[in-house]
């Protein structure tokens, strides 16, 4: 505690796959605040092959802007010497060089293999494959697959403590037969973490100890009804530092500079999302859309889940977004015509030159359309994995019995969702904040009343690692400088004909000023409400529409303001009322953009055809 009080300045970097971001935090009048930020291209790749060069460049940008010195030839100057030289602590996260790539294995696909997958994802890994005895593949196919992949490590689970050992040993034998090799470090044995039936440990050891760097941790599923992921996650982080970071170009140097171990970026973001959910006591979805991957985090029913869609991103994997969603799904968000072949070439050129940014309004709208699809697909993936434990006995009340919910149902309930926090270049750096709000509404399609926020300058990773050292500093900066409240969306569930009544909303501010709005189906409206304002809202959905209290039932709730305000999204849910025919779709898109002032309409007009004017 003594040391925490003494921290005057904190320098933190996040070495992403594309960009390295540095932030400087300082204690100002007793409160930690973000003071400055800098960024530079990541330099893990040739010709540099040294991650510290990008980190130095990003920090150098802060040095120039502040007229101060934080680094010398040997690294970062710590502790702070005076007001001009040094910082008290330096921290870093990293997802460069492919991040942490893991394979997981379990006996039963839907049980221990799924638990192993959740443990690996929660620790910040990309899961390359999940092998299970019952995954439908023949033994030789599993062995082939394990041989093909060169993961950074394997997490293996299976069986409850004291249960049968045969199946988990069979799994170990498959892995031993494959003689898997690690991705980095030719002479090293592949790290394997065993987190299964304790009674099988001696057999696992005799099967794998000679062929791998075997570690044993507590069983992920000691009993069927319990999932304990902590010890496995901790061991994953240890091995990430020992094996993965130690092999990546320049990381040994970076590790010697940092005062605490480098964390995988997604692990750090997850930590921050968990903190937000517990502080605000609400269900939260966080999303981080990067160049290579899109991470989705959620906290529902006090359960934290993270998924990573390894090939859904805005640069390296942008072509995969096009492949998975299809060009038509991207184009449905674009209010102008563009030649399909030209668009495909543009998307591929973004893939091979990943650091470029949109310069024209046309390029921006296309990029944000692709982002909507990447987010949508990543969220679908998340919903399929953020599920309750499967195959266990559950006590049900009479209502649940009638609903016939199975074990393993998705925990994600959009009506219960309290807040969406967006992060990643395309959301954090959108030229107008309302564009980020609209992207999140279109891709997550939240129901009822939901707060929207973005990570202002992409600093959740750094704050996540800081929260392990000084939670107070992380929390203060998060509240004051990181989280930008966009506002609140009010979205009734239901469908109708365009123009039919959908919802009427009355908002009363703390000063007693009231504004009332009637929204017709198919429309979207914006009611400005300042960022620090919390107003009383009374929303009365029309017959057939639900805001969480049943169809047609009035809802009273507090709504948070934001830089955007309160968005009444009467475009319908189940599904979102985006017309399927092109002229109508374009007409509605332009109408919605205009209603929210999402884009400068005079510039947008340049790209619209004659029939797609902005006047209407």
């Amino acid at each position: 505690m003594e040391q925490k009080r003494k921290l005057r300045s904190i320098l933190a970097t996040d070495c992403g796959s594309t960009t390295t971001k540095a932030i400087l935090i300082e204690l100002v009048d007793g409160v930690y605040r973000l003071i400055c930020r800098g960024e530079a291209p990541t330099t893990v790749e040739a010709p540099f092959e040294d991650v510290t060069m990008g980190a130095r460049n990003a920090i150098h940008e802060i040095e120039e802007l502040m007229g101060r010195t934080f680094q010398d030839e040997s690294g970062i100057i710590t502790p702070q010497r005076d007001s001009k030289v040094g910082v008290d602590i330096y921290l870093s996260t990293s997802s460069a060089g492919g991040g942490l790539q893991m394979m997981v294995a379990g006996v039963v696909k839907q049980m221990t293999a799924e638990s192993a997958e959740r443990a690996a994802l929660g620790a910040g890994a990309i899961v390359m494959d999940a092998i299970a005895i019952n995954d439908g593949r023949l033994p030789y196919q599993k062995i082939q697959r394990i041989r093909q992949l060169r993961p950074d490590m394997i997490l293996m689970s299976g069986g409850i403590d004291g249960g049968t050992v045969t199946h988990v040993v069979e799994l170990a034998e498959l892995i031993a037969a494959a003689e898997p090799r690690p991705r980095l470090g030719i002479g090293f044995n592949l790290p394997i973490i065993y987190a299964g039936n304790k009674q099988a440990r001696k057999h696992i050891e005799s099967t794998l100890a000679e062929k791998a760097d075997l570690r044993m941790v507590d069983n992920l599923r000691p009993v069927l009804e319990k999932e304990i992921l902590g010890p496995a996650r901790e061991e994953i982080h240890n091995l990430f530092m020992e094996h993965v970071m130690a092999q990546a170009p320049g990381y040994n140097k970076l590790m010697s500079w940092t005062d605490v171990p480098i964390m995988p970026t997604p692990g750090a973001v997850g930590k921050m999302i968990e903190t937000v959910a517990s502080q605000k006591k609400m269900t939260v979805i966080g999303v981080d859309i990067g160049g290579a991957t899109t991470d989705v985090f959620s906290v529902f029913a006090d359960t934290f889940n993270r998924t990573v869609s390894a090939n859904l991103g805005m640069s390296y994997s942008i072509c995969n977004v096009m492949l998975e969603s299809g060009l038509d799904n991207i184009m449905r968000w674009v209010p102008f015509n563009i030649d399909a072949a030209d668009l495909r070439n543009r998307i591929r050129n973004k893939m091979i030159r990943p650091t470029t940014i949109p310069q024209t309004m046309q390029e921006l709208i296309i990029e944000q359309a692709i982002a909507r699809e990447a987010l949508r697909l990543a969220f679908e993936h998340h919903k399929s994995l953020a599920v309750g434990l499967r195959g266990i006995q559950t006590q049900r009340d009479i209502a649940e019995a009638f609903e016939q919910t199975a074990t393993g149902a998705s925990l994600v309930d959009l009506m219960k969702l309290g807040m969406i926090v967006g992060s990643g270049g395309v959301l954090s750096h959108a030229p107008r904040r309302v564009q980020s709000a609209l992207m999140m509404l279109d891709s997550f399609v939240p129901e009822g009343i939901t707060q929207l926020a973005v990570d202002s300058i992409f600093m959740m990773p750094q704050l996540g690692v800081l929260s392990g050292v000084n939670p107070e500093a992380a929390q203060q900066v998060f509240d004051r400088d990181c989280l930008i409240r966009l506002g609140t969306a009010i979205a009734p569930v239901g469908t109708a004909k365009e123009g039919d009544d959908c919802v009427s909303v009355k908002i009363t501010t703390s000063q007693g000023q009231s504004v009332e709005h009637k929204a017709a189906y198919g429309s979207i409206h914006l009611i400005p409400l300042a960022e620090d304002e919390v107003a009383e809202a009374v929303a009365k959905p029309a017959r057939g529409f639900d805001l969480g209290r049943g169809k047609g039932n009035e809802v009273q709730s507090k709504v948070h303001g934001g830089v955007v305000g309160v968005i009444i999204d009467a475009r319908g849910r189940g599904p979102l009322g985006l017309p399927s025919d092109k002229p109508n779709r374009i007409r509605k898109l332009v109408e919605w953009y205009k209603a929210l002032d999402a884009y400068p309409m005079d510039i947008l007009a340049k790209y619209l055809g004659k029939e797609e004017t902005v006047s209407g």
Binding site: P41, F48, I143, C319, N345, R348, I352
Partner: protein, 372 residues
Amino acid sequence: MANAYTPGLLVTESIVVRKRRRLPILGEVMVKAGDVVKPHDVVARTQVPGDPETVNIANQLDLEGDEVLEVMKKKKGDSVKKGEVIAEKVTFFGLFRSPVHSPIDGTVDNVSDVTGVVTLRRPAVPVSILAYVHGTVSEVMPREGVVIETPAALIQGIFGVGGETQGTLEIVAQTNADILSGDKIKPEHKGKIVVGGSLVTADALKKAAQVGAAGLVAGGIIDQDLIEYLGHDIGVAITGAEDIPITVILTEGFGRINMAEKTFNLLCSLNGKVASINGATQIRAGVMRPEIVVTSENSQQSAERDLSSGMEAGTPIRIIREPYFGQLATVHSLPPELQLIETGAKVRILTAKLASGEIVTIPRANVELIEG
């Protein structure tokens, strides 16, 4: 200002190229430091363990796992022939015999007394690493591989498909704007690396494969033509392992884009020389760009690149995003303050002088240096 710019692709007539040639697993290095090697020389080799095959003896003979050892006819380490009996259960005083035969030639890798599964392994597969370029072994990494060094002309492309190959460079374009179409590829291009100008067409790909050309180099390609030729789409930019007969290297990107004049002129000057090329591209986790390496007799250049200077007025650049995508220009000015662009974003920009003389504003992120 920090040096926040995108380093460009290297296009140079003279540089010391260092190629790291590594085995997938530890093995034996076949050359020593100072040896002169040719592209097809084996510099390192190893034996990759053969594919395993599992036989569930317990299931087949209706035994418990720990009973399997009693019926095994072969033990761990024994070699076996396909069809040979590896285990046999004898019942009724020898009246009934239930044998289990080996499905492969190989060795017994493991006999499990827990699961009753026997793992057999096929013979090891020899793997050799070739020198790839003509050069001198400058470093030996014991049991891992070598570094080969050579003075060479080096041209990095932006994207490629297909692996390592060699061939004589044959320039078939008159200008950097010419299209490399099928009619330009002749039977005499067998084994050669054919260089075009702005675009390689779908019929050129087919014709090159027909005549047995080793590689194709051009400014761009229409994405659908490449996908059709490959037979599958490209989701993430990791290439090089495609099962295709020719290596294709693009110097500029997707679409019809004139090859940078400097690249085109350098390739013309190398016409008729033998090149080592590799289409492998990986734009994440250890970037790899496709390359054309032409070994030269001597060079004064060092492999060290001056990466500290960044951009200044007059620096040649390539614009790598719409609306000026593919155009070559020189830096006109570098205003330090953020500026508003059409999207509404405030970003660092530069002004660039296009070949036409027009001065335009471009975000700095959307240009790359023409290196070399």
